[in-house]
């Protein structure tokens, strides 16, 4: 429905301060469907805060953030929630799955919460899990860390988001699983028609992205080197 030219995420002239600390000033970022970007930065540099702003959970002091062409600035709480539910998927650092539910239910839950009433949901979920290589299991408790994170990825995808966010998605994984999950994640924009923004402090993960930025001096600088 959206014109191919419309970016999944567009941030312009973003300024955000916490107290008298200027976290972002003049930050720009544009991400089209099918593209991936990684944002690197040391702990405390504002990576999670940037995600909060994109999710509309914090309001910028200046500048605009638009998701799939919708400027968040004018939206009320309900409209914001609708944009989030319909256009944004998110993978959390620790997965945050419900241990006693199976992978299918964990994934379907996100669709149910977003008010999805498609009768084909169970098939869609099964297909998604199969494609992501998640084995059958009555409970995600019994899955490995990497498999659990795949479930979390499937859950982020189930609502067909235009923009996929991931906050330290591999932070809790060992090296092998990290590589597997990272490969999976960065293959998604092409497969799933979405844009991917990964926030991480892991260069090896960030290296898989189409574009890599580092938070520095209140803005984003292309490349992996922070300049002080």
């Amino acid at each position: 429905m959206s014109a191919p030219s419309r970016p999944a995420l567009a941030i312009a002239a973003l300024r955000y301060t916490i107290g008298d600390r200027v976290l972002f000033d003049g930050l720009e970022l544009e991400l089209a469907v099918g593209e991936s970007a990684a944002i690197l930065g040391p702990s405390g540099s504002g990576k999670s805060t940037l995600l909060s702003l994109i999710l509309g959970m914090a309001r910028p002091d200046e500048g605009t953030i638009a998701i799939d062409g919708t400027d968040l600035a004018g939206l009320g709480t309900a409209a914001l929630a609708k944009v989030r539910a319909g256009s944004v998927g998110m993978v959390f650092q620790f997965g945050e799955l419900l241990p006693e539910l199976g992978p299918e239910d964990n994934v379907a839950l996100a669709a149910m919460l977003a008010g999805d009433d498609d009768p084909g949901l169970p098939d869609r979920v099964a297909e998604l899990l199969r494609r992501l290589g998640v084995p059958q299991s009555p409970r995600v408790e019994t899955l490995s860390g990497g498999e659990r994170q795949r479930v979390a990825v499937a859950r982020a995808l189930v609502n067909g988001p235009r923009l996929l966010l991931a906050d330290e998605p591999t932070g809790a994984l060992d090296e092998t699983n990290r590589d597997n999950v990272a490969d999976l994640l960065f293959a998604l924009p092409a497969e799933q028609d979405c844009a991917l923004l990964v926030v991480t402090h892991d260069r090896a993960v960030a290296a898989r992205a189409d574009r890599v930025y580092t938070i520095t001096g209140g803005g984003l600088r292309a490349g992996t080197e922070a300049q002080r």
Partner: protein, 740 residues
Amino acid sequence: MSGNRRVLTRRLLAIGAAAGRRAEAGRIRFGSLAAAAGALTVALASIAAIGVAYQARMDRIDAAMPVVDESAAVDSRLLLMEDVFDELADGRQFTVVYFEPVGPDAPLPPGMDAWPEPGQVLLSPRLHEAGADERIEERYGEYAGLIDPDALADPGQQIAYVVADGDLSVAGEYPLHVVGFDPSGPPEAMGVFWLVADQDFSVPGLVAIAAVMLVLPALLLAAVAVRTGAELRDRREQLVTVLGGGRRERFLISLGESAVPVAAGALGAGAAVVAAAALGFTVPYVDFAVAGGELLRAWWLLAACPIAAAAIVLATSALLGSRASDRRSTRPRAARRPRLLIAWAALNPVFIVTAVLLPPLFAGTPLYPLLNLFGVAGVMVTLPAAVAFTTVLIARRAERFGRRTRRPAWLVAGRRIAERPRSTARQVTGVAAGAILVCLLLAFQGAFTTQAARAQQDLDRYGMPAALVSVNGYGTAAQTAEFTAALHGRIDLLAATEAHVGPSAVYHLAGSCEALAAFALPCPEPGTVVSPDGPLEDPRLQRWLERHPSGDAALTFEQGDPGAAVEADDITLLAAATDGGDVPVADVKAAGSAFTLGVTVAASDVSAGVPHREQARWIALFGNLGLILLAAVAGIGAAGEFIRHSRALAPLVAVTGGVAVFRTMAALTVWLPLLAAALIGLGLGFLVTRPMTVDSIEMITPGLLIACAAAVAAVGLVMWQWASAAMTKEASTWRPGRGD
């Protein structure tokens, strides 16, 4: 060194306090710790209050002990005293004490300042109030005021003082010669207040009920509260343990964390207790009044209650510390044995049938109560398994329902409970068992009321077409005439004597031709005794004879003067309302003031059940409070668990929306189990006590059942709101990178 230790102590206390302030479910933790300390304070204080109030009451009952000296000279210091019983419709028996001060120096009974005129009456405030419907002021003579309630056994006592308008030594049967009132009087003397002491609930019984229904649930509440939202504290305790801290260090953390809420709860409740004790209060529902200041005579005991309660909760908090709840343990869960559980669960309905349906097959044999008791015991023992089994069944259905209809709350809550049914089952079982226990206690209490229940059934079935009236003490013909005249036109009266010929009763009636005619009896020649020829025409007489305990009574009658019969032979009178309705007992009693000591209307044994019924209200009151505490135990436990387990859902809900999921989930996991527990427990309790209560006054009234269910549901409602508000807040304040 000791300086270092002091610093460390302060540090550890501060670490604990910080954990308390920052706990995710901080408000729930604060609230439940405070509630536990407060509930325990009140529970302990109520036991102390029972003891103190009882002692104060006994002291006043003793102060009303007359010093009797039968050999004392009849002079101005002597008081003649005789008491009779009376009752209000549907009320307990009380004493009416008749006094005749022989001279101006006669001792005054407790609660009276000066002697009223002969024929005047003082009433206790409660009797005055309760008897207003029956115009109690007119019953014994001329109303002259109230008895000072401070001198009564308790402000709720019913008693009347009457200054006799006749000569007690003539009219009375055994007037006591009283020379004073003195608590150290000879113990065999019956005090003015002996009847209330006799009707009292046994104090050990009351204390036992308070212990089971108040203290025990309050202790359970403490045990649950100290584990609610304790994750942060646990983490700090574990950290300190890893760093080499020991029991003392852990205790200090626990103290620092729990001290403020526990102190707040204990002091708040303690202040409320002291204020109530100082101002005086009426225990609701049982209507027992405690005068202001009375309990303060044991102020140290009341002061000890919040201190003891706080100490107990803090000790519980320290004892049930982090080691007791290592949930992140990787040990495999103990293998469950579902077959055994199902077998136990299946036995539950078998025991219900045993308790309810089998006893009637063995009516009148010892098997009747034995089968019932066996069944009840079985129901209690198999209850946990039955509840657990049913919980799993229902949870699975809820889960399927949620999946089919896309209701995430049902899916998640159902799955959660089906996976770990134990905690839900435990909470439900606690409340349900409490409810069954309340029903059992009330049924046992009802067992004392068989006689009154029969009398009540009788009264309900036959009404009171006629009643025997007997004169208290001795009456004269003139008094009888006055009595008869006062009732003329409203009540028909005949003299009545009961004789037994073989196994059957014979009533012999006597009256004027006019009086006999009022009962449709012919007027025989004076001096001849006749039996009615043919069936009785007067329906009142007919119904009255039918309900004689030994079956149909026979009848003879003659022409005669009831007044002479009363004066000569102390004969009873048969009274029936002229209009054919029920005998207006209050009117007859008021007319009875024509006699020096009044009359007794021998209506029924209904009043014998009243003290038991009133005692049962104590059981019901404490039982309901206990259920509220048990509901709080279950509700707080469930709320804490709900918050712990729903936390993983907060980020997802924050991103995808649908905060309402927490409302429904909390309703399903916190409120609904409590409501079900109350309904199951009260329903089962009512059911299994049926065989015990067929022949007694029903103490388990619909009103009581509804009140208990409503109280539990209300507690559940509060917990539900609390839990759902906590999670809603958590989801709406979630931000990326926080809480991860």
